[in-house]
């Protein structure tokens, strides 16, 4: 912090806010752009269908520093009770 800032106070500059917001936003968005995500989704559905009825499948991807996450949530049809 410069002397000027010490004397006159300092609030978070908007450029810094822009940077932070973009980093968070893009961490979520980047992975949506994975070219194979739709095909992957189709294939997973095919595999799961062999064993169970699928209601819905949610694929979430996230990039955090150097780690890429792939989160797959499969909602199964609950088996009938008769």
């Amino acid at each position: 912090m410069s002397l000027f800032e010490a004397l006159f106070g300092r609030k978070k500059k908007s450029a810094e806010a822009a940077k932070d917001r973009l980093k968070i936003m893009l961490a979520h968005e980047r992975v949506h752009a994975l070219p194979y995500i739709d095909d992957l989704k189709k294939d997973i559905i095919e595999v799961v269908k062999k064993y169970a009825e699928v209601n819905d499948i949610k694929i979430k991807t996230e990039k955090n520093q150097d780690i890429d996450f792939l989160e797959v949530e499969i909602v199964l049809n609950s088996p009938s009770k008769d």
Partner: protein
Amino acid sequence: MGTIITVTSGKGGVGKSTTTANVAVGLAQAGKRVVAVDFDIGLRNLDMILGLENRIVYDSIDVMEGRCKLSQALISDKRSKNLFFLPASQTKDKSALKKEKVRELLEVLKKDFDYIVIDSPAGIESGFENSIFLADEALIIATPDVSSVRDADRVIGIIDAKSEKAKEGKEVKKHVVINRIKPEMVESGEMMSVDDVLNILAIPLIGVIPEDKKIISATNVGEPIVYDKNSLAGEAFRRLSRRILGEDLEFLELKSKRGLLGIIKGLFS
């Protein structure tokens, strides 16, 4: 064989056509045989920025649909003798551009020119795909604001998915051009700096263009700023063009013209 450079951005209004015009002129002034191609079908602008709007008779759709010869549609620029311009169609709808026709056209142009500079439409629809699928290099234009950087990131992410070169395992060279930097705002922390943007986008930098009022006057008269030897933005575009040709040039040092308060602030920091 010529090199296809596609100028693209994601967000509209960040300076794609201006950059296309100035890079095309810059390359031509460096002695290369260049054609600037407007692919923004229905919303052409490159013609006015280049100052060639009154000389259009045929457009690229006419060529692709066989209504005229390529040589009839190509407009030669009087100021730069190596520079030619192929206008976009203004009346027909965007779907008029067919991928295979585009391929034929670009392959002919590649034989005749050193550089084919394509002004791509904003967005990531079919028009974008037609502009990028045969590109050897891409210039991604971003201004230092959140929407532009976010959209630039999206575009960077899908270039390889649309590119034939990438499908063959080759690399599409991708570079970012940061446009409309306002040094005084960067210095006061109210605008992201070049480094901030590069840090986020993580592709190499090839140009930094300062905000310059002279660009507006240049566009008004249809004379790209790169011709103006006294303009900072013009110099920035000249350097950008020479970097495309492989020269390793320093980036312009952009500093604000400080007022009294700025000078006092500078003494303390």
